[in-house]
């Protein structure tokens, strides 16, 4: 009896030791997601020896192209990665989706619902039930399946995950997380310059007066849903300019800060009072662009404060606070890099580069924080910076781009490559930290190419008789199909790649019957679109048109666009098309700083896949990653997944 007892105690001690050391035999998987990392640039830099850590990983296991999603947009692609399904399964087909009953767009990944019942007391509206924020992505994420098997998981900033799914996974939401205004990022720009335009894409311009070197204005916050009419919450903003020196003092209620010209501030906390004892907290950074001759102050989109999140941005709910305590306040907005500010000329290239450095640094800090305690399980971290940087700086590496300027190209032509080398350092550091026995996977959701020309798809539909206008004389329509005559419209485009048939029984004013008529129309549209040639360049605009039924499977197929237009390199669906506009011109030069893109045909812009082990499948796709991650922990893919495990477990002994 005594021996049995001693044996039991010894066994318990051994179990305790094994458990406390994390268990050497327990699988350890590090996955790094580098948004938009392009295989061509990667290959070229590897050949030059500038990516030694990627080279190291490739030599150890795998480096190959990774098939992206249809269409290759980040929320769609990362949803393929998360669920192991195609968009027909997870239901994310584009950045924006449409309601067929109203033809109006909505953000495809998240829906926010106000409290259903409210009690009106004077001017106050007291909610009697909770409002809701719902993730529209269908299907179970791989980390939820890992949770079910008690595998410790950390998922940092993966896109299409707001509000974050899962329970025990330590996760921070990524792309798709709104700013505090509920938008994908609205900056504010205060200036004494008399601009005509006060509303521009991605931001608001406030024209202010400087009287006796004092500027008095306001910070516009979120709509106050506790007040009748939901007026915007506001905070007073006062700026004192020194009479001679290029410096200013900014005052927001009790908060004071001093900024030199051309200086970014640290995080500044804003508290918008919604009702007595209730406020919404956000954080911003200021950038004092100029004091004289014109005063110009840039304020970043107001981020949800991770220390007091107004919306759910992490699992467990306190994780964002824990992270903020460890690394300081951080950007929580999905696309934190302020691309619109550069696109609209509110920030210049250097200012933008400084801003994206903040985002890059914070992600490295998050990764480091988790690497410190990574014993076993899954650690996933998403680095966004390579995507917005390539969107904005591609013009400096493409002499054929309308926005190419040799002088600027001289200065910024190597910036994209430089950031690839930064990613290489991140990878090297992480590989060293996790040790040689850990499995390491690096992937990108798509590659990149030049975006030289805009194709106005709704205009093409109009000119070819598929879309009718109510007022033909105008020959155009404002956004959201304002001038579209649905009774004469057979097809319409919304989103960057999506085309819909105005179908009877589905659309509110559908005119095309499902069945042979629709099928005939789809084939006709597909044939004609693939034949479109740009008269200016002689190139085909569209490389591929995908029919939903050929590419999608799963429970959300009914919500799919009927056709997905895959553009050729150099072309993309215009911003106007994405919002349902009809323009007077069909193909125009892209004169925006947003000069690189990936919303093309999937064959044009594959992503990259690196792994520390050889893979069995020579043509891997994004949706294979979820089954591969599960396989690493001995868990089978779910029946809903269309992908399969990339590693040959039998050959590798697991």
């Amino acid at each position: 009896m005594r021996r049995v007892l001693i044996l039991a105690v010894m066994l318990a001690l051994v179990a305790l030791v094994v458990n406390s050391t994390g268990g050497d035999n327990k699988p350890k998987l590090l996955v790094l997601g580098f948004d938009g990392m392009d295989p061509r640039i990667t290959r070229s830099l590897m050949a030059e020896g500038r990516l030694p850590n990627f080279q190291r990983l490739a030599q150890k296991g795998t480096f190959t192209e990774l098939e992206t999603s249809v269409p290759p947009q980040s929320p769609v692609a990362w949803s393929n990665f998360i669920t192991g399904m195609n968009p027909g399964g997870h239901g994310i087909f584009d950045f924006i989706a449409r309601d067929p009953k109203t033809y109006l767009p909505y953000l495809s990944t998240t829906v926010t619902e106000d409290a259903k019942r409210k009690l009106k007391i004077g001017k106050w509206l007291i909610p009697l039930s909770k409002g809701k924020v719902k993730l529209l992505r269908h299907g179970k994420s791989f980390w939820e399946i890992l949770e079910d098997h008690d595998i410790p998981t950390v998922v940092l900033r993966v896109p299409s995950n707001f509000p974050p799914s899962g329970k025990t996974t330590r996760s921070i939401s990524g792309m798709g997380t709104p700013d505090i205004l509920g938008t994908y990022g609205t900056f504010s720009f205060y200036t004494t310059k008399p601009y005509v335009i006060t509303e521009e894409t991605g931001g608001r311009i406030y024209i202010v007066d400087s009287f006796n070197n004092k500027v008095e204005t306001k910070i516009v916050g979120p709509p106050n849903t506790f007040l009748e009419g939901n007026p915007d919450a506001e905070l007073p903003l006062t700026i004192y300019l020194d009479p001679d020196f290029p410096v200013a003092k900014i005052v927001i209620e009790d908060t004071e800060l001093i900024l030199n010209e051309k200086e970014w501030s640290d995080w500044v906390t804003l508290r918008f009072k919604m009702m007595p004892f209730a406020s919404v907290q956000g954080i911003v950074r200021f950038y004092l662009k100029s004091v004289r001759p014109d005063f110009e102050l840039y304020m970043s989109p107001i981020q949800i404060d991770p220390r007091a999140p107004a919306l759910p941005i992490s699992t467990p709910a306190d994780y964002s606070k824990e992270l903020a305590k460890a690394i300081g306040p951080f950007y929580t907005q999905g696309i934190a890099e302020e691309t619109w500010a550069l696109n609209e000329g509110r920030l210049n290239e250097d200012e933008f580069l400084r801003q994206i450095e903040f985002v890059f640094d914070q992600t490295k800090k998050m990764l480091d924080y988790e690497l410190d305690r990574f014993d076993w399980g899954l650690l996933y971290c998403y680095f966004s910076t390579s995507d917005p940087l390539q969107h904005m700086f591609w013009r400096f590496r493409d002499p054929q781009h309308p926005m190419y300027e040799p002088q600027l190209a001289e200065r910024y032509g190597e910036t994209i490559e430089y950031y690839y080398t930064r990613l290489d350092s991140v990878l090297g550091h992480a590989m060293d930290r996790v040790g040689p026995d850990a499995t390491v996977i690096v992937l990108s959701d798509h590659g990149f190419t030049s975006y030289r020309r805009n194709f106005h798809l709704n205009t093409w539909l109009y000119r070819n008789g598929y879309l009718a206008l109510r007022d033909e004389f105008r020959q155009e329509s404002d956004e959201f199909f304002e001038n579209v005559d649905w009774s004469g419209t057979k097809a319409y485009a919304l989103g960057i790649n999506c085309l819909y048939i105005n179908q009877i029984g589905r659309e509110a004013e559908g005119i095309v019957s499902p069945g042979p008529e629709k099928e005939h129309l789809l084939d006709e549209l597909r044939r004609k679109l693939m034949a479109v040639v740009d008269p200016e360049t002689g190139e085909h605009v569209i490389a591929q048109v995908y029919k939903a039924e050929d590419w999608y499977s799963g429970e959300c197929v009914d919500e799919a666009p009927d056709l997905v237009v895959g553009y050729n390199a150099g072309y993309r669906g215009s911003w106007e098309t994405a919002l349902g506009k009809v323009t007077r011109t069909l193909i125009t030069d892209n004169n925006k700083a947003w000069s690189g893109d990936h919303c093309m045909a999937k064959e044009v812009i594959p992503g990259v896949l690196f792994a520390s082990k050889p893979i069995a499948n020579p043509q891997p796709a994004l949706y294979d990653l979820a089954p591969t991650i599960l396989g690493e922990f001995g868990i089978s893919a779910t029946p809903e997944m269309v992908g399969s495990d990339l590693f040959d477990r039998i050959a590798q002994g697991r």
Binding site: P246, A248, K249, I258
Partner: protein
């Protein structure tokens, strides 16, 4: 007084501020209880409390007799007033040391010292009638801090501000020069729980009481006050974050309630 408190809290200076707060709260609870016992009529208080208990018993026994219940309630109210009257003198006696303790705790626990790399604003106000544009104020920084911005002069408010940045831990100085005088003021870039002076003014009784130990601005200086923006401090008690004031109030009262059974105080 500041010296006495510095001596008292010396053992906790380099440790966690929570330890110092617990110690001072315990000490305050004990001392206040002792003072209360010393200055109050304990016998009379005991009688009043007994009466209150008796009236409560009366209410329970005659709960069906509404007139008796009402009369008991009236008597309880009156007894409570008597108790409060008996507590007035001890409260008055206690208020003086409590205020002095609060001032000392405010000096030590309302702000944190600056961290290396962090910035702060030095805000100087000039006396009424002084024109900032013709009477410039200059700031120099000692080793360990650097001037991170030129002056922001706001003539309408009689105010001039600078941003400073800490480069080394320690207690450093900024030197403000108004053309005739130079004033050295301490800048605290430390994690130690020591008095952190965030406001400096010319000498007055009010300043001596409520900002004890802080260096004074010379009477003839054109500066009327100088403020340094230190980050605010709060105590994280695991389940709740509280300011030093609420932390002290709750903990010292809790100690008082526990200790009253030890000291047998009514």
């Amino acid at each position: 007084m500041t010296g006495f408190f510095s001596l008292l809290l010396k053992p906790f200076e380099n440790g966690h501020a929570h330890a110092g707060m617990l110690f001072i709260s315990l000490l305050t609870g004990a001392v206040m209880l002792f003072l209360f016992k010393l200055t109050s009529n304990q016998e009379a208080m005991k009688q009043v409390k007994n009466k209150i208990s008796a009236y409560f018993l009366e209410m329970r026994l005659y709960k069906d007799d509404i007139s008796t219940v009402m009369a008991s309630q009236r008597r309880i109210l009156r007894a409570n007033m008597q108790y409060m009257k008996l507590a007035v003198i001890p409260a008055v006696v206690m208020i003086v040391p409590v205020v002095l303790i609060l001032i000392q705790l405010d000096l030590r626990y309302s702000h944190m010292g600056l961290g290396v790399g962090s910035t702060a604003i030095v805000k100087a106000h000039v006396a009424e009638g002084v024109d900032l544009m013709t009477h410039p104020i200059h700031l120099r920084a000692s080793e360990g801090i650097e001037k991170a911005s030129p002056a922001v002069r706001i003539p309408a408010l009689g105010e001039v501000d600078w941003k400073i940045r800490v480069t080394k831990p320690g207690v450093h100085e900024v030197i403000l020069a108004d053309g005739t005088d130079e004033i050295n003021l301490p800048i605290f870039a430390t994690t130690r729980s020591i008095p952190i002076y965030s406001k400096f003014a010319k000498g007055s009784l009010f300043e001596s009481i409520f900002n004890p130990g802080a260096p004074r601005l010379p009477v003839e200086s054109v500066l009327s006050s100088v403020e340094i923006s230190y980050p605010e401090m709060s105590f994280n008690w695991r389940v709740i974050h509280l300011s030093w004031f609420w932390s002290f109030l709750i903990i010292s009262m809790a100690f008082g309630v526990i200790l009253k059974f030890v000291f047998k105080v009514e």
